[in-house]
Symmetry: T
Subunit: 148 residues, 12 copies
């Protein structure tokens, strides 16, 4: 049983302490724990990671491309600036879902440009920590479809 990679970008390690009005009070550890529990129910292993380095995210997407069942990615600020991440996601086969905690469409204009969205299957925005859970539900079905 291969894992779903859940990759988190820059500053997401601050979750729960940073601008809680926007991002909520759940920490990244809370999200990981909830996902693991849900993963067990859905029979999906979770490989949960965070980095502030664009290059790490590219490395991990490639790694997931080689051995993962799917990729859930919250690229944080790299959403808006990273073509490298776009290319990595474009290059790998497993299903891919992008998640954002806050509604990036209702914030600064520079958050409305995304280099990543065009390279994934689906995008879930603005539904808080629960967006990860919805993504995992959707991932279960995408994986099943691919395997059929």
């Amino acid at each position: 049983m291969s894992a779903v990679f859940v990759l988190n970008g820059p500053n997401l390690n601050l979750l729960g302490t940073r601008e809680t009005a926007i991002y909520g009070t759940a920490t990244l550890a809370d999200i990981e724990a909830a996902l693991r529990a849900q993963g067990e129910r859905l029979q999906l292993l979770i490989d949960f990671r965070q980095s502030n380095h664009e290059g790490d995210l590219v490395d991990w997407v490639q790694e997931a491309g080689g051995k993962g069942a799917g990729i859930i990615i919250n690229p944080g600020a790299y959403t808006h600036t990273s073509i490298a991440l776009h290319d990595a996601l474009k290059a790998v086969r497993p299903p891919k879902i992008e998640v954002h905690l806050s509604n990036i469409h209702a914030r600064e204009s520079f958050r409305r440009t995304s280099h990543v969205s065009a390279a994934v299957d689906g995008v879930i925005v603005g539904l808080g920590a629960e967006g990860y859970g919805l993504a995992l539900d959707a991932m279960r079905r995408l994986i099943d479809k691919v395997r059929r």
Copy 2:
């Protein structure tokens, strides 16, 4: 028990026949049926509608603002051109989720501008007919939160 309004914009009545490579083969009736079933499980009534008229969508959002429990809206092409819809959504209180069947970020550039997204709570894009189901799951929780 008040209803979740599920509002569908222009050309979504063609679903299942139009550009199936992009939009899939499920019809709007299929989606409605699936949502109703899921609604029963979640104890949510579903008020499911479709129109090609921007004004109808504005009317319905207002109606849902007065008596609905939540709004799930796929504004179709009006996503990109309707400030009237933006204003209507901004003006009403129930939780609101925007859904798109296809990944609008991976298509023509004019589909990347959204007037609606900034006026809703969350957005689910590119996950096909199942995006509606995910939206209903999320809506259940948003309604519960509001009521608490």
Copy 3:
């Protein structure tokens, strides 16, 4: 004695309940009543309407072009998106004044583009419900000028 058409666009029926910090607490019925009273003093009949449908507004502008004495129009969000309304207003002869309750120049940037303003005689912005009254005063004089 023919009437001055007072045409109100999308979401103006919510007036008095929606974002009262921006739009004030007067309802559209309050505005209509005040205008009728003022109309009596100025010897002007008032034909007061509201719709969320762009097409209705176009229909009504044409109708006013045929039998109205003047047009006061608050096109709401269609101000920023409707060239159809621009064309209708351009095509009819009676004096035309555009009214906005809030100061659209001090809000989101997409509210600073107007397709309607170039097709009317005058524009009154940001003076709240009283902007309608000022428009009716101005209309009285425009009608008199046309008739001379």
Copy 4:
């Protein structure tokens, strides 16, 4: 023998009275009569309609997609603002020709953007009421080609 739908957008019902220097003195009824006569010669039924409502045009394009032999459309101002119409035209199979009475390329700059042209087979611009007749000639041949 199924019909060619000839669909006319906002303000075209004013034809012959509105800005005759730009649009000429022929009324929409004149154009309809001429097209019916030409249709008889070409063995084509004509279903001729006009509306100021974007949604009506979308409805009718869908209807024509189901039972029409071809679509000739003068979308008026919706040419420049309606992605819903673009999507409807893209979604239906019969041959489609866009017509404009005036030369929209020689007028205001906002008339040079078209959302519709990319979704039709051909476009005829600036040749006045006779543009409809040319479109019908061309439609005859497109229908024949499709049937072959």
Copy 5:
């Protein structure tokens, strides 16, 4: 009883002689006289000034901020270029209304950018010399509201 400052920007001293097709034949002195008469009826003193110097207008707005009851300003061409005027208006408390004689929305595109409108309460455009009178009527009410 403190005065309403009526401030006029560059080239408005030419009124009545310059491009009368656009600006009408009333001179600035005519407008001043009419406003004084109206001011008497409304119990408002009028302090009426004109300058071609951006700095004078900024000085006067500050002066009005200190001792005036309200500001009616026709900034002329500085509407489109002066952030200094924007800042001055933003910085002072009395009610502020911007007036333009001609419909600036129906002229050259550079007249559609305004740095001033976002810093005033209301804007009256295109209603000729009578726009000043409407502004004074509106100012009376704004002053009363502030005092209440």
Copy 6:
């Protein structure tokens, strides 16, 4: 009996061999032959030319201005880049129709800018080789109108 000039721009000499999916299999000689036959029926001489040189097209438009009855022009790629051609067409009196074989609105974005369209009477786009025939029909009527 003076001639209708039919002027063809760069790369149209490759017609029938180049990108036939876009441009069809008719050669320029086929189009010329068809036009000559149609011209005989319409009592119009045809002066048919092609060049890859912008200057030749300008020379010929001027020549047609001096002695031609009308101009049908397919400027090819110079549509998008030649102001010289715009000026030449603007400067001459006979009726002018622009033709494009393919639907330039449905191709690369740089093909949506036209310097020529604003300088002609009408434009026919996307109707293949038959677009020339339609243009000749329309030209017959334009010439008759001018002469009346």
Copy 7:
């Protein structure tokens, strides 16, 4: 015999000392002296002025409009930012020529925008101090034409 106003904008009083590689070593006094001598030959009085204040230039253009025979203006940096100057020049009748010492087209991009050029008869750029002399020659002829 009324005078030709020669109006010089900001920083031109530094001529001969400031960036001599761009502006040359002639001082403004040198230019004035040369123009006076040339004016005597051409029977033209010269009223030569300089100011760093936009408002002064507007005042002087108006003054020249009332009593001058012509206006030669080097608006310096106000070329690129002053709509007030544009309006003043548009509003006055005598012939108007704009002069720039350096070739503003070969410098920073912000020097390529001019609000003034559209409001004058002619523009002479890049020919150094002699540009003023050429302008005076041209002015002599423009004045003669106007008087004829």
Copy 8:
């Protein structure tokens, strides 16, 4: 005694017949004759040419670079589109002056972009046929300066 090349671009051969409200009634032959007479007074030979071909203008600029004393060029529409002409002018040593008959700054916006102006010494705009004469006066002085 080498010649001053006076090079005229597309459609200038139509001068005196084309849009005389903009370009005046002098023909290109009139301008040539006047320049030759003036050239004799200034001891300058005139080599006067016109072509509608961008390539001819480039050829001639190069030729003038090799054997001419100076270049006066009215590039017509190529002003706005020809980087080849920019490069040719940049590459040659003799003094260069650009002339435009009409005030291109007061016309269509596409005439406000110039690729040529940055590659010449000076520009004279809007002074009609006399602009050529002013350019020749200025050229006399530029040549003298270079020789000194």
Copy 9:
């Protein structure tokens, strides 16, 4: 011992009363007093001025260019609109530092364009009244460097 000119632009005379949340409660007189004290310690005379007139600022920069030891300038709103000020600063030799009290990068987008910054040596932004003191410290060193 020549003076450091400290020049303050429009609305800075309102300091301490205007939008204190943004600009702080120190008045311009407070800043002047602090600078004079600091100047004594640094052996620098202070010539402290304020004007709402762009032209005054240009005059003063030129004056400082002639007799000042350095220029500290807070151009207020003219930062974003004055090329005249850019040119004046470019034209003078003494060291120049631009100061802004508030962080203009974190405010309205029109405050992010600066015409002045490219013409000074250094810029200090967002550090409140103390920014002037830092500028004076830096000026002391720049003057010493120049003199060495």
Copy 10:
């Protein structure tokens, strides 16, 4: 006593060798030494670092957010491209000052866009290595204010 983090971005390790005309001859070690000495006088510990990795800078800003007294950051080229750095700076509480050695406003246009400036308290630009010292002076006061 907690430390002020002084964080240096890409290529600043080359200081003193790279483009010395722009950046000066001081090395990063020189700057560090000077800051340490100044820090002792101001009773501030200095934690001085450099990296070419965007992710390192984000990591360090977070670390400083947890345990530092303040942040002085010269983000080098990441100034113009890193939203991740913007987010990190926005997320942490200690005072933040951005420093640039050269005047980025007087260089290539791409250096005028900053993603970082809107997320710091103040910005010091163009004052060379001494800009760090000024920043430390300012930081001392900001820290004192925060603690009060």
Copy 11:
């Protein structure tokens, strides 16, 4: 053995004399000679041409399309303005390589737009006269691949 066409655009005939700091001292004849020698080694005939006329380049590309083995093209300034050349290159089958002597990416911004690059196989920029030799090496391999 068919030839490789080596086509050179406007002003390349000036090579070796024009702006040698940018373009080097090799003449076009030097380049031709070197290519012929290299062609002999690679068993490729060289058909080497230059023209200042866009139309000639289009003609030659078409000719090469009919009978050449490959095309090496340095379109000079037409790179940035010629869609006709784009279309011609797109239309022909042999391998195509674009060469530029100077690094056009490090020069004026208008040289960074290329209409040609998207229509060729490869592009070699900034490597001087040797860029042609590298292109010929690459062409040898491309031809071999095509033939295989």
Copy 12:
């Protein structure tokens, strides 16, 4: 004998497996092997590296600047987003050539912006794995030139 650094950016490690229609089937190891062989013939050591981290590429460019003979760099997606890489390349002395496997000019529009090209000597695009070989040939000559 010092080495030529051959630096490869993000996702190039996937070569041979990722989108082979665009990038070909050669792996990065194949390219390295071929380059080493060619390097031996040319007497150039090859130091071949790949990283997904922007910071690594900056580090390596600096390292090559200190001890390398030349730099061949394929920056992958960082081409379009990295100003840090631009600065690093600008800062180092050895010859620099940029290589891209695919023709980036014929792909998505965001691949047409390059921050790197302006900082290297030459660019080779679209010639596949052989582009590296051509770059090494060119590098041999650049190194020889530098040493002469």
